[in-house]
Amino acid sequence: MRYIGQKIVQLVAVLFLVTFLTFLLLNLLKGGPQTAALGIGADEQAVEQFRQEQHLDDPTIVRYVNWLGNLATGDLGDSLILNVPVSDLLSQRLPATLQLMLYATVLSLGLAIPLGILSAWRADSWFDKSANTIAFAFLSIPNFIFGVLLVFLFSIRLGWLPATGYVPFGEDPAEHFRRMILPTIALAAGQVAVYMRLLRTDMISTLQEDFIGVARAKGMPTRRVLLRHALRPSSFSLLTVAAISVGQLIGGTIVIERIFAIAGLGSLIVESIFTRDYLVVQGCIVVVAVGFVLVNFVVDILYAVLDPRIRHARAIA
């Protein structure tokens, strides 16, 4: 319990740090939001008025504290450009991105785990070699290329699936999934390869451990040896990487949302950066950072669940 308490303190500290750095970055760098709001060459008075209205000339630290204060009440401020609350924007845009990330993670882990286990078990076999070659190729395809190829093949040439658009799950579940298939595949392809190769490597080294020899010598069936004995000790780096991949997935969704014209968080980030709508950017970063931190928190707990040694080391601490 003390451990979890410590962890939460740590996470809150990181959140502060990340948001503050973002704030600093957004405010210190040139090209203030007035340019975006009023256009280049707007007359000086208008600029001056705008800056005062938005408190842009206050010291950064004061503005940060103000912003934090508002954050505590759930107020992320209003978009400078669209004049709507940032929280509204986020709640509109977030579901699509979350769904996309969730589907991609499920798909990539769902494919990578069995494939990784199989290719480690039959290391160097025909199956392993072809799975690895394909995985290597996938590693070398950036998702924007893969997305374009998918659109070209399945939408334009074969006409099987729509190339663009997003339908909320609540409106029409079937159509929702139909439209999510291509984006999900494009986003998951690289991850599958990373996860599979990682799990394979770890499985192979686990399978060479003495305790696997012991399990075999006990006469346990292969299935049990692989799933009960080898998988769990091999899954730690997979877990770690799956956690950091959240960051990559967010980057990925930016590109994928652009290709498939999905109005999600990724496209919101790009738009708001373009327009220097800094409160929106800041809001997005908060969401991303919270998500990232939460995922890492969950993963940290999962470590303890998976590995009794960590559990006990923590219990002592």
Binding site: V214, R216, A217, K218, G219, D307
Partner: protein, 360 residues
């Protein structure tokens, strides 16, 4: 994978035959640098309830021999020939799937390093009960009771608590006891103990060896005790086979082997060990050189380049393992220790060495 498994029905077994008969077993690994002859023509028979000590240095093939008999080696790039009959049934060369029925129930193995031999993320109890449940179809409670009884019998205090613990909570000696409990769980008739005490401290080593011996007697189980330490097998094995470069070079009942050593390698090995009863700074007799390359072993006798007795014949013709005049003492040497030929060979080499020294 539904593959036909070897099953044994106790009533069919011919108890007049040895439990394990190994005949000209060879295990070669195909590697980039050539064929490694890890085990190169080993034959022996093991009676029920007896202990065979297999002694050799690293690279002598002693570990590969045991895994080869059990069928635990990978199949890729491994060539296994020869025969190993367990209870009269041929087991050499069978696929793992076919042997699985024998593993744990008929033959079991205790591995060298207790620190790495237990699954770190599985409770000790489950590691014992899983084979009970799988092989003997016990239900959960029954398996647990049996596991506790097993832990108690291998000398683990508070077994009821221990079954709920993880390996890292146990000391090295305790882990090796758990390993033994796992191996004994389904009542095997043949136990391979592969350097069971090498990773342990001497004071714990004695405990574990005693335990193995006690369990063996109690269960009337045959044991192959593999070690690099002649001291470990001296008081505990019925017979000893000394291996060098993939071959058995000498095999005899323990007392015979020590009292009338025949192979120069065995003799040299015995002499090179520092002994407690010698006064300090006693000069050790060394075996010059290093063990041969198993890819391209020397012509003739493998030991000839390092042998104090070696004669021209030894460098050309390979001696085979033959029974000496004593009856059950086998050795592979042209000029055995303790025979007139041997004494003569040694004297000749020593004279030559003296001459060379003088010339120099």
């Amino acid at each position: 994978m539904a593959r036909k498994q070897v099953t044994l029905t106790r009533s069919e077994v011919d108890t007049s035959r040895p439990l394990l008969e190994v005949e000209d077993l060879r295990t070669h690994f195909l590697t980039e640098s050539g064929t490694v002859r890890a085990v190169d023509g080993v034959s022996f028979a093991l009676e029920r309830g007896r202990t065979l000590g297999v002694v050799g240095e690293s690279g002598s093939g002693k570990t590969i021999l045991s895994r080869s008999i059990m069928g635990l080696l990978p199949t890729r790039n491994v060539v296994r020939t020869g025969s190993a009959k367990y209870e009269g049934t041929e087991v050499a060369g069978l696929a793992a799937g076919a042997l699985r029925g024998l593993w744990g129930t008929e033959m079991a193995m205790v591995f060298q390093d207790p620190m790495t031999s237990l699954n770190p993320v599985m409770k000790v109890g489950n590691q014992i009960t899983e084979s009970l449940r799988h092989h003997l179809d016990m239900d959960k409670g029954e398996a647990r009771e049996t596991a506790i009884a097993l832990l108690r019998s291998v000398g683990i205090p508070e077994p009821v608590q221990r079954v709920k613990e993880y390996p890292h909570q146990l000391s090295g000696g305790m882990r090796q006891r758990v390993m033994i409990a796992i191996a004994l769980a389904c009542g095997p008739r043949l136990l391979f103990a592969d350097e069971p005490t090498t990773a342990l401290d001497v004071t714990v080593q004695a405990q574990i060896l005693d335990l193995l011996q006690a369990q063996q007697t109690e269960r009337h189980m045959a044991m192959v005790l593999i070690t690099h330490d002649l001291g470990v097998v001296a008081g505990r094995a019925d017979d000893i086979a000394v291996m060098y470069a993939g071959k058995v070079v000498e095999k005899a009942p323990t007392s015979v082997l020590f009292s009338s050593t025949r192979h120069p390698y065995t003799e040299a090995l015995l002499k090179s060990i520092p002994k407690l009863e010698h006064t300090s700074h006693t000069r050790l007799e060394v075996i010059p050189g290093r063990p041969p390359d198993l890819v391209s072993p020397p012509d003739g006798c493998n030991f000839s380049p390092r042998c104090a007795y070696a004669q021209p014949k030894c460098f050309v013709e390979e001696p085979v393992l033959e029974t000496g005049p004593g009856g059950d003492h086998e050795f592979a040497c042209w000029y055995p220790v303790g025979t007139p030929q041997g004494a003569e060979a040694l004297a000749r080499n020593q004279a030559d060495a003296a001459v060379t020294e003088e010339v120099a």
